[in-house]
């Protein structure tokens, strides 16, 4: 199947994600109508905020550069054809440790990267929000775990997270809304290894349902989650938040690429967004603009919106827009097993240990890492082995062991550093917009942390009966390029996602992360969006918007 070539959400209706060829009514706004909120990006941050603001009665238009998917019509069991889900506009990636982009971390379309994400839904360790004060490294966030806790619970409910009755790490959180999934074979390898080494493990809390929920059927363990869930078991931002947003009266404008945030002549307020849809540039008027395009497109848009009043880009008096780019390191360790694993079955990551997130002793580094069992499909695995330098007969021999391979990959904390950046390159894309350029290098601490994780994961694979171990290097999520903070000199936005420089310009996505923590970010992004929605409502009530 190929991606839609024309917008679907228009003329008073949006695609119904639950019905082949189906539609739901959608309230639409004229460009000239000044809406309360224009939101750029309908992913984990943007779609969540759109839904909550619309539910609170604000008028909202949420833009996404990609299509409004109908999983039942669009998503196929084919890795190559699913590349339509990824952000593949031109980008340059550099530094000592260039980060691979596209399918590795960036989605395009309503639902954003959660359309092809792995559904791991973990809370932060409470101390990470105050890492500098409580753990002596990184920086403090302007919010505390106590402020986030109820929003984590709200996000878990909204996604019907399927997880254990008692999660073994961190503060108590009651049973997850849905019962845990049966752990698959690669997860049982992790469990066995963990028990041999005497560390705790558990079934991963996943945003795919273990029992029917509304129009979502339970997960059928098909294992194609990275390529879009064709059954709608996955509780992506597309299935959950976009649906709620449209039902509550928000407009989601698909295949609409925002090129600039517009400002008034003295540069004190933003007035709307300039966007391209079907080849035509238009301007949507708005009282507030929220940028939620993820950690590359968000700073890129703010930088591309520079004016004579804001020559370094909007909201950038701190110089932090595009700085402190972080990722999670994800080095893998892999092993062969005599038993049949068949790791294509089930969601890719079904067992986890957060041992090294909650243990501070015995470390020669700051920070932590969690790691999970894995489940790459055929083509992805072939390319991973090619990345190891294998080809021809050697590659074939190794691929033949596919059903007998298992491995672990951590979500490993990376230090925020000003030298890691997203900037604009001197080259334009087909929209005529300057393309982003990343520069990323690991610190010594980052390298020590990863070396520790490789050693530990290797021990655990061996303890579980694995042999012929080997390892590789990779990364996953992107964060940090418009960080939140308490100080306008060292951060882009405050705890509400509101920019220090322009009071009606906001950020609500993964770029808010001042530090990375060491669990997958989407639950925290959604919890932040839920909190920001409540804060906006409170500020509006006080006349402070």
């Amino acid at each position: 199947m190929t991606a839609p070539t024309a917008p679907r959400a228009r003329d008073g209706r949006a695609p119904d994600v639950f019905t082949p060829d189906g539609w739901v009514p959608m309230r639409c706004h004229a460009d000239s109508e000044e809406v309360d909120f224009a939101i750029v990006g309908a992913g984990a941050g943007g779609a969540t905020l759109a839904a909550r603001l619309a539910e609170k009665g604000f008028s909202v238009v949420c833009f996404d550069a990609g299509p409004y998917w109908r999983p039942l019509d669009d998503f196929v069991s084919d890795e190559r054809a699913s590349e339509m889900l990824y952000w593949t506009d031109p980008r340059i990636t550099g530094g000592d440790d260039p980060i691979a982009l596209a399918g590795n971390n960036c989605g395009k379309g309503v639902g954003g990267s959660t359309v092809h994400f792995s559904m791991i839904s973990l809370r932060w360790r409470p101390e990470w929000f105050k890492a500098r004060t409580k753990l002596g490294y990184g920086v403090d966030w302007p919010v505390t775990y106590e402020q986030m806790e109820s929003y984590y619970a709200q996000a878990e409910q909204a996604l019907s997270v399927s997880g254990p009755v008692k999660y073994p790490w961190g503060p108590p959180r009651g049973p997850y809304p849905y019962r845990p999934h049966e752990v698959n074979a690669p997860g049982l390898i992790l469990a066995r290894g963990a028990e041999k080494l005497g560390v705790k493990w558990c079934a991963v809390p996943l945003a795919t349902v273990s029992a029917p929920r509304g129009k979502s059927p339970p997960c059928v363990y098909r294992g194609w989650c990275h390529y879009g869930c064709s059954t709608n078991a996955k509780q992506s931002a597309l299935v959950v938040w976009a649906t709620r947003a449209v039902a509550a009266g928000a407009e989601i404008r698909d295949m609409a690429m925002v090129g600039q945030v517009e400002t008034n002549t003295d540069g004190t307020r933003v007035t709307g967004v300039r966007f391209q849809r079907e080849g035509e540039w238009r301007v949507q008027k708005a009282r507030n603009v929220v940028v939620a395009g993820y950690a590359i497109e968000t700073p890129r848009l703010l930088l591309n919106s520079a004016t004579s009043r804001h020559p370094d880009g909007l909201a950038n008096s701190s110089g932090c827009v595009g700085a402190y780019l972080t990722t999670h390191a994800g080095p893998g360790v892999w092993a062969t097993f005599d038993e049949d694993i068949r790791w294509n079955k089930g969601p890719p990551n079904m067992a986890v240990t957060e041992h090294w997130n909650y243990t501070d002793e015995g470390k020669d580094f700051h920070g932590g890492y969690a790691f999970m069992s894995q489940g790459p499909l055929a083509r992805e695995w072939g390319q991973t082995l090619a990345g190891r330098g294998l080809w021809g007969a050697e590659l074939q021999r190794e691929m033949a062991k596919y059903n007998h391979t298992a491995g672990f990959v951590p979500v490993a904390e990376v230090e925020p550093r000003a030298c890691n950046t997203v900037t604009l390159a001197d080259e334009v894309d087909p929209y005529g917009l300057k393309i982003p350029k990343l520069s990323f290098s690991y610190s010594d601490n980052d390298r020590r942390l990863q070396a520790h994780s490789k050693r530990f994961m290797g021990q655990m694979l061996e303890a579980a009966g694995g042999y012929d171990l080997w390892d590789n290097d990779d990364t996953s999520h992107l964060m940090g390029t418009c960080r939140m903070g308490d100080d306008p000199k060292t951060s882009v936005v405050n705890a509400d996602g509101r920019s220090w420089d322009i009071p009606n310009l906001w950020v609500c996505d993964g770029s808010l992360f001042a530090t990375t923590g060491a669990v997958n970010p989407s639950l925290t992004i959604q919890a932040l969006a839920l909190r920001i929605a409540d804060r906006i409502e409170a500020l509006a009530r006080r006349g402070e918007l």
Partner: protein
Amino acid sequence: MTERYPDYDILDKWSSVSFDDKTRAVLTQRLHAVPGRRFFTQTEWDLLEALSSRLAPTPERGGSIPITPWIDKELFEGDTEGFRIEGMPPTLEAWRKGLAAIEAEAKAAYVRPFAELDSETQDIFLKRIQKGEVDPALWRGMDAKRFFGDILLKGVVGVYYAHPQAQSEMGFGGPASPRGYVRIGLNEHDPWEAREVRADGKPRRSGKTQR
């Protein structure tokens, strides 16, 4: 190599509930609508054919799995990953430059085009390119190791393992929608999965799990 899954063919599931119509449509294209040459020159095309016959595995069940036509299509349609490592040319340009450089390296070393070398020499030569042991002048500023690993090899392997035959040989489950799997634990199989045969020709028995 003796086949581990000799009686397994993903395409046998074509009419089953493991396949849906949209996946059938994609695979029908892959199997029956192999595109012609539009991006590469004939010389580039022939060279890539010779390269991929060494880089990709040899199909155990005979026949060949088309690779060059699909890479040509991706490049012709600009359907690439979009990002590039700093210092590397844009993807389309990188392919042309890299193929030209490989041919120039072969001619410099053996006075013959790559395609005319015997397969053993080809493999030795390719290992050298893979390690970046090249004459930088012939690469006109492009990093040979990156071209070999991130573009050429990744591209070839990405096409090869998108083919149902390649996936059948490795015992991969293949398409799985609307039906997924029921038995997902260690040594557990659903009837619609590949049956593995041991080196001695006997079917593998589902052993007891250790757990």
